[in-house]
C-alpha cells in the first residue's frame, strides 16, 4: 500500500515536500498483516546464506539479537561496538522490565490491549501496523529469553512473576530484580558469543563506525576507526544494520552512558536516510537532581518508586525549611491534587512537566531549587521499613551512595532528566530506511513508541526488532536486491574514507582554547533550556540562532590534543560532538514545525485550558521525515500521514 504524501496545511518555514514515503505496510486485518507478510516475503535458501555478509553496528538488545540470529541462520555477520565488549552496550542499564502480552495473570491482557495501550500511550503518533506486530512478537521474546537462561523473577510455584509498571492497568511486565536490561542483554550477548565461537560472527569491539558507504544507491559498507590504534578501515557488506541506540546525549546530561552518540545514524542521515520525528525525546521524571557544575551524567531511579512514594513540594515559594520541618498542611502533593485518579502514577511526560512547573514557580527543593520530594514516610508507616527495603533496597542504597542522604529518614529529591529518544532514522514496515539495504533497529529507528514511550517497552522493541523482525525482512531484501560485485577498492569507499580522515585531521589541527566537553555542556544547556521539557516558538528560534554560532566557534576553537595513532578519547568525543551540533539544529527545526503538543513534545502554545498537552490531529497526524539537503539549516520535510483504523485518537486524560 502506498501512502501518499501531501502538504496538508499552509507553508511552514523550511518545509518542502518531495517524495512519497512508502511505509510498505501490508493490507488486510491488522491481526493477519505480519503473518501474511512473512509468507509473502522472499527467502534465502540455507545453502546460499553464507554467500551474504551483513554488517551490524551496535551490540545492544537490537544489534546483539540481530547479529546472533543472523549468524545462527547461516549469514556471515560483522558486528561492531564502541565498547570494549558487546556485553556493555547501554541496554544493560535498563532497570524496570519488559512487557509482553502473555496474560499469565488472567487480568484481561491481550495482544490487542498491549497494542492499544502502546498506540494511546504514544499519543497517536506511531504506525499502527508496527505496534501491532510488536505486541504480537512480545510473547515469543519471553519464551526465547527464558530458554537462554535469563533468570526472570519467579513465584513460589516456579512460574514467571509479573508486575504492573508505569501505570499500566494489567500486570504484563517481566523483570529480573532491578536489572532486567542487564539480564536480557547478557542473554543476547551469550547467543552472540556462541556465534562468534562458531565463526559466524566476527566481532569488532572498540571500533566505531564513522561513516556509511553507499554504492549505486545501496548501503554497502561502513568506515570504522579502531579506537586503540586509530586505524581507519573499510568494511564491505551486502546490507547494513544500524542498532546504535538513542541520541539523548545531545543534551550533555542524560541517563545515557557517556559513550552513547548519534554519529552512526547522523552520518547515514547525511547519506540519504530520512530522520523521523527528531524532536520526540523522553524525559524521565525520577532521576537524581544535578549536584554541581562538574556533573557528568544523571542517574535514573526506577519508575517503580512512584508506586509507593508520594511526590510533593512546599506550598509556598522560597520555603527553605528542611522537609521534616514543613507541616502537612503546608505541603503540596501536586500530582495527587491535579490527577486524583492516577495520582503519582501519571505517565512520564505528565509527571515530568508538572515537576518543572512547580520548580518554575520557585517551589523546587534542594540546591538550585531544581528538585521535588519523593517521600516514603507514609509507606514506611503503612507497610513497615522491611517491606520497603525488600521492594527498593538496592535503589535506596544507590541513592544514599550518590547523595549521602538516607531516603528511609528524609524524602528523596528527584528531578526529570533526558532518558530516551523516540525519534530516529525513519524506517518502513521492514525496518528499512530510505537508503535501500540500510536497516535500522531498536532505539536508533524512529520507532513504535510515537511521541511517548511507555515503561518497559524499550527492551521489548529492541529484542522484537533484533530476534524476530530483521531476520525475516533482511532475507527478503537480500533475496531480491541486485547486488553488484564490488570491493573495498570501489571509489565510494575511497571517497568516504578520505572524508573521514579529513574530518579527523581537521579536528586535530584546530588546536583551539576550549575543550570538547566545554562545548558539549554549552550545547546541552541550550537544548535543555529551549528544546527540553517545554518548547515555544521564541525559544526554539533563539536556539536555532545560537547553535550554528556555537558550532562555528567549535570548528575554530576546539582543542583536541594528540594524534590519530593510539587511544585518543578527546578525539572520539570531538567527532561525536560535531555530529550532535548538526542533529541539535534538526531537533529544534522539527520542534518548531510541530506547533502542536503531543506526548513528550510540549509546545507551550498548544495546551488545554488545564495546561495539558493539546494535540492537533487535523494538522499533525504525520511522521515528520527529514531529508538532508546539504545544508544543515535547510533540511527538507517529508511527511508520512498516520492512519488510525483501530485505535481512534482521543485526548489523553489522567484526571
Amino acid at each position: 500500500m502506498t501512502v501518499e504524501t501531501q502538504p496538508k496545511t499552509g507553508v511552514r518555514p523550511t518545509t518542502e515536500y518531495r517524495v512519497s514515503l512508502d511505509s510498505k505496510t501490508p493490507a488486510g486485518p491488522i491481526e493477519q498483516r505480519w503473518d501474511k507478510h512473512k509468507f509473502d516475503m522472499k527467502l534465502v535458501n540455507p545453502a546460499n546464506r553464507r554467500k551474504y555478509t551483513v554488517i551490524v553496528v551496535g551490540s545492544g538488545l537490537a544489534g546483539g539479537a540481530a547479529a546472533a540470529t543472523l549468524g545462527e541462520q547461516g549469514y556471515n555477520v560483522k558486528c561492531f561496538c564502541y565498547q570494549d565488549s558487546p556485553r556493555r552496550a547501554h541496554s544493560i542499564a535498563a532497570q524496570g522490565g519488559i512487557n509482553a502480552a502473555k496474560n499469565y495473570r488472567n487480568d484481561g491482557d491481550s495482544i490487542y490491549r498491549l497494542f492499544y495501550d502502546t498506540v494511546k500511550g504514544g499519543d497517536f503518533r506511531a504506525r499502527e501496523s508496527n505496534v501491532y506486530r510488536l505486541a504480537q512478537v512480545s510473547v515469543n521474546i519471553i519464551d526465547q529469553c527464558v530458554a537462554q537462561g535469563v533468570p526472570f523473577a519467579r513465584e513460589y510455584g516456579g512460574l514467571l512473576d509479573n508486575r504492573s509498571f508505569g501505570g499500566a492497568q494489567v500486570s504484563r511486565t517481566f523483570y529480573a530484580r532491578g536489572q532486567t536490561g542487564q539480564q536480557l542483554l547478557l542473554g543476547a550477548y551469550q547467543a552472540l558469543s556462541r556465534q562468534i565461537a562458531a565463526g559466524k560472527v566476527a566481532m569488532f569491539p572498540r571500533n566505531e563506525m564513522l561513516d556509511l558507504v553507499v554504492i549505486n544507491g545501496r548501503a554497502r559498507g561502513i568506515i570504522t576507526r579502531d579506537m586503540t590504534t586509530g586505524k581507519i578501515e573499510r568494511h564491505l557488506g551486502d546490507a547494513v544494520v544500524l542498532a546504535t541506540g538513542g541520541y539523548g546525549n545531545v543534551f550533555y546530561l542524560s541517563t545515557n552512558a557517556k559513550g552513547c552518540n548519534t554519529t552512526a545514524i547522523w552520518r547515514a542521515h547525511r547519506k540519504g536516510a530520512f530522520f523521523g520525528n527528531p524532536c520526540f525525546t523522553q524525559i524521565h521524571p525520577t532521576c537524581i537532581p544535578v549536584h554541581g557544575d562538574y556533573q557528568s551524567k544523571l542517574t535514573l531511579m526506577s519508575e517503580s518508586l512512584r508506586n509507593d512514594g508520594r511526590i510533593w513540594v512546599p506550598k509556598n515559594p522560597g520555603d527553605s525549611r528542611s522537609a521534616d520541618k514543613i507541616p502537612e498542611d503546608e505541603r503540596d502533593y501536586f500530582l495527587e491534587r491535579k490527577y486524583p485518579s492516577f495520582g503519582n502514577l501519571v505517565p512520564r511526560d505528565v509527571a515530568s512537566r508538572n515537576a518543572k512547573t512547580v520548580c518554575d514557580e520557585g517551589r523546587g527543593v534542594g540546591p538550585g531549587g531544581l528538585g521535588v520530594y519523593l517521600d516514603f514516610a507514609d509507606s514506611i508507616k503503612r507497610l513497615g521499613r522491611k517491606t520497603i527495603e525488600e521492594r527498593y533496597g538496592n535503589l535506596f542504597d544507590m541513592y544514599a551512595r550518590i547523595t549521602a542522604e538516607d531516603p528511609y529518614k528524609q524524602p528523596m529529591r528527584i528531578y526529570p532528566a533526558i532518558h530516551y529518544t523516540m525519534g530516529g532514522l525513519w524506517v518502513d514496515y521492514n525496518l528499512q530506511s530510505t537508503i535501500p539495504g540500510l536497516f535500522v533497529a531498536g532505539e536508533a529507528n524512529f520507532s513504535d513508541h510515537g511521541a511517548n514511550r511507555l515503561g518497559a517497552s524499550a527492551l521489548m522493541q529492541g529484542l522484537a526488532d533484533g530476534y524476530f523482525v530483521l531476520p525475516y525482512t533482511l532475507a527478503d531484501y537480500l533475496a531480491q536486491a541486485p547486488l553488484d560485485k564490488v570491493s573495498t577498492d570501489h571509489e565510494s569507499f575511497r571517497e568516504t574514507e578520505s572524508d573521514v580522515t579529513g574530518r579527523i585531521q581537521h579536528l586535530l589541527s584546530i588546536k583551539g582554547k576550549r575543550t570538547v566537553d566545554s562545548f558539549h555542556r554549552e550545547l546541552g544547556q541550550i537544548m535543555w533550556d529551549e528544546c527540553g521539557m517545554a518548547r515555544n516558538e521564541q525559544g526554539l528560534k533563539k536556539a536555532l540562532q545560537r547553535i550554528p554560532e556555537l558550532k562555528a566557534e567549535y570548528w575554530e576553537n576546539v582543542c583536541v590534543l594528540g594524534a590519530n595513532e593510539e587511544v585518543n578519547q578527546s578525539l572520539e568525543k570531538a567527532g561525536r560532538v560535531a555530529d550532535f551540533f548538526e542533529l541539535a539544529e534538526l531537533m529544534c527545526l522539527d520542534a518548531l514545525q510541530r506547533s502542536e503538543s503531543c506526548g513528550g513534545h510540549f509546545r507551550e502554545e498548544s495546551q488545554t485550558p488545564e495546561g495539558e498537552a493539546q494535540r492537533d490531529d487535523a494538522n499533525f497526524s504525520y511522521v515528520a521525515a527529514w531529508e538532508f539537503s546539504g545544508d544543515t539549516s535547510k533540511p527538507i520535510l517529508n511527511k508520512e500521514p498516520l492512519n488510525f483504523e483501530y485505535v481512534h485518537p482521543t485526548q489523553r486524560s489522567y484526571k
Partner: protein
C-alpha cells in the same frame, strides 16, 4: 575554584601496549559530592588546557552496571567502598589525601593506555561455553518449565556479575574463578542449563588456563572487592561441577538437576 578538597594523585601513565609506564603526580581540587570519575574529568580538563595529554580511563554507564570502569585505587580494586569505581564518591577521601591510581594488573589484561586495559580474555572465556545453545525461534513456551524460586534467585545472584575484572585484579594469582564460576552457577541453577553443564565447565576452565588466568588458592580477595558481592560459593560449585564432569568424562550422565 575552591571545592573543598585538595588532593595529590599518583597516576599510572603509559603511552600504549608496548611502552613502559611510570607514575606521574598531579594536584587536583575536588568536592566531596563528586564521583571519583568526575574528579578525573576535572583533572583531564585541566591537563588539556595546559596542553598535556589527558589520562585515558575506561568508563561508560557511570551507574555501576556496565562493568566498563575499573581502577586500582590505593592498591584496592575499585577503591575503599566495595562498589564500582564510577559509584565511588570523593566523600570517601579527605582533604590532603594522596591517592595512587593504577590500571588492573594481570597478565590476561594487557594495558592499552594509562589506566585502560584489554579484557578481551573475558569475552573469550564466555565464547568457550558460557551460554545455552538455543537458536532464535526454537524456544518452548516460557512457563512450560517451572523453576523453583530458590534456584531462580540463586541463579540471579550469580548472573549479577558485571564482568569488570576486579576479581582478577585483586587476586594474587590473577585467577578468574569468580567470574567463570558466576557464569557457570548462573546457568547451572536453571533447568535450561543442564544439558551442557559438564561440557560448559570443562571448556571454560580450559579456556581460563589458556588465557593465562591463574588458579584459585582460596584467598577470597576476589569476592571481597566484587561490586556485585558475588559469593565464593560459585567457585566451590564450579569445582564440584568440574570433578563431576571429569569423572564422567564430560558425559551428561544422570544427575539431580539444579541445586547440585
Amino acid at each position: 575554584m575552591g571545592m573543598g578538597m585538595k588532593l595529590t594523585l599518583r597516576v599510572w601513565r603509559q603511552k600504549n601496549r608496548m611502552s613502559p609506564g611510570r607514575f606521574a603526580t598531579y594536584n587536583v581540587d575536588a568536592s566531596p559530592d563528586m564521583s571519583f570519575l568526575e574528579m578525573l574529568d576535572v583533572l583531564n580538563e585541566d591537563l588539556i588546557m595546559k596542553g598535556e595529554d589527558p589520562v585515558a580511563f575506561d568508563h561508560d554507564c557511570r551507574e555501576g552496571i556496565c562493568g566498563t570502569c575499573g581502577l586500582m585505587i590505593n592498591g584496592v580494586a575499585h577503591g575503599p567502598e566495595q562498589t564500582t569505581t564510577c559509584q565511588l564518591h570523593m566523600r570517601s577521601f579527605k582533604d590532603g589525601d594522596e591517592i595512587t591510581i593504577e590500571p588492573w594488573r594481570a597478565k590476561p589484561f594487557p594495558v592499552l593506555k594509562d589506566l585502560m586495559v584489554d579484557r578481551g580474555s573475558f569475552d573469550r572465556v564466555i565464547q568457550s561455553g558460557g551460554y545455552i545453545s538455543v537458536s532464535t525461534g526454537s524456544a518452548p513456551e516460557a512457563n512450560a518449565t517451572p523453576v523453583p524460586k530458590d534456584f531462580a534467585d540463586k541463579s540471579m545472584d550469580a548472573a549479577a556479575c558485571i564482568g569488570c575484572g576486579a576479581c582478577v585484579a585483586a587476586c594474587p594469582n590473577a585467577s578468574a574463578m569468580l567470574f567463570g564460576g558466576a557464569k557457570i552457577a548462573h546457568l547451572g541453577f536453571l533447568p535450561q542449563g543442564q544439558a551442557e553443564r559438564s561440557q560448559r565447565v570443562l571448556k571454560m576452565v580450559e579456556k581460563m588456563d589458556e588465557e593465562g588466568f591463574g588458579s584459585c588458592t582460596n584467598i577470597g580477595e576476589c569476592s571481597a572487592v566484587c561490586p556485585k558481592e558475588i559469593s565464593l560459593d560459585v567457585i566451590a560449585r564450579m569445582n564440584r561441577d568440574l570433578i563431576w564432569a571429569s569423572l564422567t568424562k564430560g558425559g551428561e550422565k544422570e544427575r539431580s538437576s539444579g541445586g547440585g
